[in-house]
């Protein structure tokens, strides 16, 4: 995928959010490259859970570009009868496996599913993408204990480290704290496709519980959205959309 290709996906997200007045652009932009690689390469043989469901528009846009859903379906984002909501509904979109939106649900669900797969001796693994703010949810840490105690190795936890916590209680020394639960922690640039591919490839082939800390930027790609809390749940105006298109060199 070229830089231009990713810019087109970003612009599509901006357009959808402009039309529907909905969507979490900052989060969608921070996970875009991660989602792109997962959906392009690793979805068929594994289960993916988007625990940070508010970034759903990022996933829908990638799905549209990879041909998983039609333009008509993509354009229906957040319409009354749409399959694509502000947070994913797994009964309408089974590809997401679990309906998410309330933070802290994805990792418990993922650990249960991974345990089930382990019992079935399945070769499939579970890839769970959480936001760094989800590290503040007690259920995330409870699940890490479950994973450790029941020796769940067929699970890859990706943390979108976009520093959302910096506007509230900061989560300091993530890697050090997580190292209690895994000796396979990969810290990468979450916007670098090669680093993402490499970390996922390693995680999927070894026999440990892997954690990928993906350092990302909230709102990556657009200067005024980047790390700007005002854009957490805001949609662009017509004027802003025009300017963002220029900024993305489209």
């Amino acid at each position: 995928m070229s830089k231009k290709g990713l810019s087109i996906i970003r612009y599509d997200i901006l357009k959808s959010c402009h039309i529907t007045k909905e969507g979490h652009i900052g989060s969608a932009f921070s996970i875009l490259e991660l989602i792109y690689i997962i959906f392009q390469k690793y979805l068929k043989k594994n289960y993916f859970i988007l625990s940070k469901g508010h970034a759903s528009i990022g996933a829908y846009s990638v799905m549209h570009h990879l041909g998983f859903i039609s333009k008509k379906a993509y354009d229906s984002f957040c319409n009354f009868n749409s399959n694509l909501g502000g947070h994913p509904d797994s009964t309408k979109m089974p590809i997401f496996n679990f309906s998410t939106g309330s933070l802290g649900h994805g990792l418990p669900n993922s650990s249960g599913l991974a345990y089930a797969l382990k019992q079935k001796k399945s070769k499939k693994k579970v890839i769970c993408l959480i936001g760094d703010q989800e590290l503040m949810e007690g259920t995330t840490w409870e699940s890490l204990h479950i994973i450790e105690n029941y020796k769940i190795k067929n699970l890859i936890l990706i943390i979108d480290r976009n520093k959302s916590d910096f506007r509230s209680i900061r989560f300091l020394e993530i890697k050090k704290k997580l190292s209690v639960f895994s000796d396979k922690i990969h810290e990468i640039n979450g916007h670098n496709l090669l680093e993402i591919k490499d970390a996922l490839k390693k995680s999927l082939t070894n026999k440990s519980f892997n954690i990928i800390i993906a350092n990302t930027v909230k709102g990556y790609g657009i200067k005024s959205i980047k790390n700007n809390p005002a854009w957490h749940h805001k949609s662009p105006t017509t004027e802003e959309l025009k300017n963002f298109k220029k900024e993305l060199c489209l």
């Binding site: 509904d89 797994s90 009964t91 496996n97 679990f98 309906s99 939106g101 309330s102 802290g104 649900h105 990792l107 418990p108 669900n109 993922s110 650990s111 249960g112 599913l113 991974a114 345990y115 089930a116 797969l117 019992q119 079935k120 007690g138 259920t139 409870e142 699940s143 204990h145 479950i146 029941y150």
Partner: protein, 287 residues
């Protein structure tokens, strides 16, 4: 045998019969499951006191094609892990069996932290949840065996036993074409204590969206006795627009108690002891 003792026995029978059953315990009653831990150590997990993650983990098992049976004390399941029940199971349309113990004020002496009068009121808001309210151990075993694999979200409320006889799901105990009807829900009261009866008696041990209450339109007065908070059966009757009926619900009307003592003392304080309930039933039906 109490329902609590019958539970591990039933689980052992079911786990032997169906290899897809997984039992998750919230560090409650663990010793009574020791035989099962010996036999099926990978299929029975003591999940400690992480109730929310236990329910979320159960949803993962269900997604993976297994049948989770999740057990701990009612408030820690229905109140603390409510969002997990709602989202992970009901919204995702995944199935499970949630078995609570100590609902209402069964743990009277332990105080309000361990009470849960409002479980049925809360769970009945989700039309896809099936609520089972057995009133003796055989009935509980029967209901669990019959329904554990029905691909739905099932909630079983294990309480103190009140009724000796085995009864089928939602059925008449007495049907003599009287003008009035008494509906007894779960272990609310043993109808034998009432004495001379001027009404038919219908027993409800399953509340679901398909509950059939059509027959009640033929009754003039309906008394409902339910051992929880929230006037649930009356709400269902009113939703079905049988408004000509005169209805009295006798139930718990508090959820926060600053009292200890034993259950009968608390029930007396709350006007829900057998004598008070019988008095209210008779007064309403005598009018």
């Amino acid at each position: 045998m109490s329902m609590r003792k019958k539970f591990p026995e039933t689980i052992e029978l079911l786990m032997k019969k169906n290899k897809n059953i997984f039992c998750l315990l919230g560090d409650i009653g663990v010793f009574s499951f020791r035989n099962i831990f010996d036999k099926y150590k990978d299929r029975i997990l003591n999940m400690s006191t992480m109730e929310q993650s236990m329910v979320g983990f159960g949803a993962g098992l269900s997604k993976g094609g297994y049948i989770p049976i999740i057990h701990t004390i009612a408030p820690f399941l229905v109140l603390r892990a409510l969002e997990q029940i709602k989202i992970d199971f009901v919204y995702n349309k995944l199935s499970c069996n949630i078995v609570s113990v100590g609902a209402s004020n069964d743990y009277a002496k332990l105080g309000t932290t361990h009470h849960c009068f409002e479980d049925i009121s809360i769970l009945s808001n989700y039309s896809d949840v099936n609520i089972f309210l057995p009133s003796n151990s055989n009935e509980f075993q029967n209901l669990l065996q019959k329904n554990y694999n029905n691909k739905l979200v099932n909630y079983f409320r294990i309480t103190e036993e009140t009724r000796k006889i085995k009864i089928n799901e939602n059925s008449f105990i007495e049907n003599n074409k009287k003008k009035n009807l008494l509906i007894v829900v779960g272990n609310a009261i043993d109808e034998h204590l009432i004495g001379d009866k001027k009404f038919d008696i219908y027993y409800i041990n399953r509340i679901s969206k398909n509950i059939n209450l059509n027959f009640i339109s033929r009754y003039k007065k309906i008394t409902i006795v339910e051992p929880f908070f929230g006037n649930i059966i009356e709400r269902l009757i009113r939703e079905k627009k049988y408004l000509k009926n005169e209805i009295l619900t006798i139930s718990y009307n508090e959820t926060i108690l600053h009292k200890y003592g034993n259950k009968s003392e608390q029930d007396f304080y709350l006007g829900f002891d057998n004598l008070s309930v019988i008095k209210k039933i008779k007064k309403f039906n005598a009018q």
